[in-house]
Amino acid sequence: MTDVHAPQSQPESAAVEDDAARSFALDQTGTAEGGSRRTSRPPAANAGWLRWGWRQLTSMRTALILLFLLALGSIPGSVLPQQGSDPGAVQQYYASHPALAPWLNHLGLFNVFAAPWFAAIYLLLFASLVGCVLPRAFRLVGAARTPPPRAPRNLARLPHSSTYSSALSPDAVVAGAAAVLGGQRFRLRCSEADAKDHWVSAEKGYLREVGNLLFHLALLGVLLSIAAGGLFGYKANKLLVEGQSFNDTVAALDEYHPGRLVSGNDLAPFSLTLNKFTANYIDSGESRGQPSNFDANVTYTSSPGAKPGTYNVRINDPLAVDSLKVYLIGHGYAPEFKVTDAKGNVYNETPPFIPANTSTFESDGVVKLPDASLGFMGVFEPTAFSAGGTLMSIFPAADAPAVSLIGYSGNLGMNDGVPQSVYQLDTTGMTKLSGSPHLLTPGQTWTLPNGKGSITFVGVKQWVSMAITYDPGQVPALVCAMLAIAGLLLSFFVRRRRVFVRAVPAASGTGSVVTVGGLTRSDASGGFEEEFAELAAEISASEKAKP
């Protein structure tokens, strides 16, 4: 998937470069450019179609198109609300776009990363990469074993060349040059000992191919890691009010999204208690009301009977239990109520209220008491302020909390088995207890009319929403991504280059005429010209150093 450049050459020199240049090109073109060019025309024969399809799929162009499609396909995942991360927002979208939403749902756009078409792109990209990398790997192994090609006949026509006269015999010159090049860790191929022709071929920069291969294999590794995370990992959400605890089991979780190969019994047996949640807000200046710190103090055990630990979970500072991560993803208020019904039964309720306004934390919620035949709809104001008869919140901290309640009595409709949302009150079978909402501050009690009982606003607790994730592919994906970058750097900065030295007897009869030629494939980072000049100088200097 890296660029392929044929060596730059003048037209008339093309013939001269012959096998040296051509083999350089052949190493490469089999995979990408040449491959698709050779096979882009659909063959007439039936058997050829498969071959043609495979070549198309594994061509670099297709891989790039698929990579682009993958990026394109994930855009709706960030633009549209997603079922997995925010089902409430999906409901809202349905409500505001009743005509469009079902169509988007048919296309899987509310759950992009689980959509079949997304999986199709992903799997095709995977097939394309495998089909590209595997043949390439075999070719590289082959190339690594092949000695450099024979020296071309006319070295002077190579892109880089220099000629000098030597006092030594041709075979001595070649032996000296081979020693110099070998010392520079070039791979060597020399002319046969008894041949009339004296030359040495040297090649260096195999690391470029290694880097290239590393990049491709690491890319495969990234995809495999992500796939492993999707198959064996899981994501879950749990809302906890201060003082509440839960065990990591499917029934206890509010949302649970297992990977394809995860069963409910695979959940880690940890338990967690939310002791206290602290949110600090900036109380003056321009950013007044902005949060400055969130801190959820939890006690956890990694398995039943294990020694409990405590941790302060913060944004971007998750709790790590075994291989799980527990993130803090949301918070809100849970007003605490004590309700007495007509018969004198007492109930304690601390229902989580959902923020309707995330800057003032004005929140909505319900209190449901099916056995008392009472229900309340409430609005909670952390810092209550009455502006011209309208109750509102002016600050997100619970500095002056108040709750405004509308009471209902009657059948809550919870005995007929139809599951209800804990955040909604079905008032169809109920009657309103009062015309206007009743306002309570902590400690205050509302005595309900007609002897229906009473409700006391005891105080305010806070709740946090936690995301529990298990992603076994996370670390391998990171390692592979780093390897991919390392491989890419190698393939960018290492040049594959060849140097040839040929010595022929001088016309005068003694000594020889030595030609040094150099050839590099892609010289994007530059510098081969200097390297070649240095090498040529070193080769000619080496014989002068000898006696």
Partner: protein, 189 residues
């Protein structure tokens, strides 16, 4: 230039066709998988019944419950909460069967999850439920038994035979026929 364009068109068409095919196949595969799960009763044949760990804990009224003390009797263990509509629906059935089977060596036991004792006791007294329940707001008992049988939803009913092995589970609200069938198969006459 024209050739290059045409090549791109051919490639894009081929990719689109394969994508569509892949998407259809994936849709067919996933929909087939979803239809395969039917029924909410799982029965375990004698000899293949998983052993239940010894569940212990406090009841809603503060007494201690120890599952092993019920050995020798068939136990109907119901996972419920007063907040859960299907649990409220099946409660009269459970209360009735408890009375009906008490003389036949069957005991009923509840596990009250995600609830408060006050709310739960108000519910059991209004439904005439007299058998005890674990006070399990944090799902600790569920987590223990989940190592053996899936209790992935509320309500779930687990029938445990006389030797302390799971004879069957009912996911969701139990019906009369489902529960009595399981009780018969747990070797109860």
């Amino acid at each position: 230039m024209f050739k290059a364009k045409r090549r791109t068109v051919v490639t894009v068409t081929a990719v689109a066709a394969v994508l569509l095919g892949g998407a259809l196949t994936a849709t067919l595969l996933t929909s087939g998988k979803g239809n395969a799960t039917t029924g909410n009763t799982v029965e375990y044949q004698a000899g293949h019944r998983p052993a239940v760990p010894n569940l212990t804990g406090k009841s809603l009224t503060g007494t201690t419950i120890n599952l092993s003390s019920y050995r020798g009797k068939v136990v109907v263990l119901n996972f419920w909460g007063s907040w859960c509509s299907p649990c409220r629906e099946e409660a009269p059935l459970l209360a009735g069967l408890d009375q009906q089977y008490s003389s036949k060596g069957v005991v009923f036991l509840g596990d009250d999850v995600g609830d408060t004792p006050q709310n739960a006791l108000a519910f059991t007294s209004s439904q005439g439920i007299t058998y005890p329940s674990f006070n399990d707001p944090g799902y600790a008992v569920v987590a223990q038994i989940s190592q053996v049988v899936p209790v992935h939803d509320t309500p779930t009913t687990v029938v445990i035979d006389k030797t302390g092995h799971v004879a069957g589970t009912i996911l969701g609200a139990a019906t009369y026929s489902e529960l009595t069938t399981l009780l018969r198969d747990a070797a109860v006459t």
